[in-house]
Subunit: 252 residues, 2 copies
């Protein structure tokens, strides 16, 4: 057996930001080495070497700032939206580079990652990533309340408009009538906030205002390869990562 | 006179995230329409139409989530790092798409924007973008203290390593021995935190630990077109935008 073309370098034990990348690789049916899943003991060390404060990169690559990191031969690529662009164009989940669709999809993916990933993270770490949640719990309550009241509806409303717009084409998807990586990214963002804020997101879903967004979430879930992946051991459960469920931060 | 190829759609009165894009256009010597500067009264309305909660885009474009937005003919492109990629590859400030350099520079630009733009913003709005600074001042003090102590040194240390690494090549730049748009983005990030936290960043500069980063900042400033731009009326002063100077958030 030949070794897989791609290696995902990421923290073990959480789906985290690595999960956006896994979904693209799984939907594309591409073989990849995922050390966090197959050898968790080695994964943390793999990450540590890359982000060590003495690493200045090599003749092919600048040092990466943080994981996830994708290794493809001699090439190392970091930053989640950047890895997604790289993989999606190579595996039929985004139009070719130098096309409007390439840039439109990048904007959609960046918006999901800003609103439903980075901002979701900041609800439990509004003050300092280096401190425990417990030491910023009161601030988290204020930030999560604003996130639930103002930010989640703003982002869901935005993606609802994208799906309703002409450029989304027919069917459940965000862009051009076909499944793209932006749909996979939105799926994971929705899945994450459903886990973190089941009451709040449940109410928004029940309101019917964002019906197309939740239909898209289900449509991705029903893709044969994604369906198989989600029930496999490769899909790690949410926990104390990017998306966290603290009942005191959710709606009643 | 023909009208400029590009139009920048952005809020008037602040350099904000639009400034990263202006620097690329200025260094490239490309003519562009900047309504925020030439007709501030019309600029807010231009933005409002684009991000209105009834806008579903058109047959060419999904709706944009937020400014800055670049108009190029019938094409609308949003999200700062995305607009930067689009312009830089077209105007000699990034290698061609589908090359390692395209993805490496995107990672560097995304890292500056995360660390020296988004996180700098969050020091004065750690709880809610919809609330006044004055209503989240205590939380801002905690967040700014962490930003100054942990985050700024982490990001400056990272870019110092990038410049010291093999892949940066000769000279003051981040990548491949040539000025790229990532250098312009880093320049603006450093310029912003120098404005916001003059004492804290002054001390870090004086320490000599990040000498290459501050040299790069100066080298960008000395580029003939950038030098002319910075003293022109097109360069708007910092104020109550992305980068804010509140003495109570800075070091003593």
């Amino acid at each position: 057996m030949s070794s897989p073309t791609y290696e995902l370098i990421y923290w073990p034990g959480i789906p985290g930001r690595g999960e956006f990348i896994r979904l693209v690789l799984e939907e594309a049916g591409v073989e990849y080495k995922d050390t966090a899943v197959v050898d968790p003991g080695a994964a943390a060390q793999n990450v540590a070497v890359q982000i060590d404060s003495s690493n200045t990169g090599d003749g092919n690559n600048p040092p990466p700032f943080a994981p996830p990191i994708l290794r493809h031969g001699d090439l190392l690529i970091s930053q989640t939206p950047n890895i997604l662009l790289y993989l999606a164009t190579r595996h039929g989940l985004a139009p070719k580079e130098d096309s409007p669709g390439f840039y439109h999809l990048n904007a959609l993916a960046l918006t999901v990652l800003d609103g439903l990933s980075n901002e979701a993270h900041d609800t439990h770490h509004p003050i300092a990533v280096s401190e425990y949640y417990e030491d910023q719990k009161e601030e988290s309550k204020r930030r999560a309340a604003d996130y639930i009241k103002n930010r989640i509806p703003k982002f869901l409303g935005y993606f609802e408009r994208v799906i309703k717009g002409k450029k989304s084409g027919d069917g459940p998807w965000l862009y051009g009538g076909n499944l793209t990586y932006a749909d996979l990214v939105l799926f994971q963002g929705i899945d994450g906030i459903k886990y973190a804020f089941p009451n709040a997101v449940g109410k928004l879903e029940a309101s019917g205002k964002y019906a197309n967004v939740f239909k898209l979430h289900q449509a991705v879930k029903d893709r044969p390869r994604i369906k198989e992946y989600l029930t496999s051991k490769r899909r790690q459960p949410f926990g104390l990562g990017l998306y966290r469920h603290y009942p005191e931060l959710d709606s009643k």
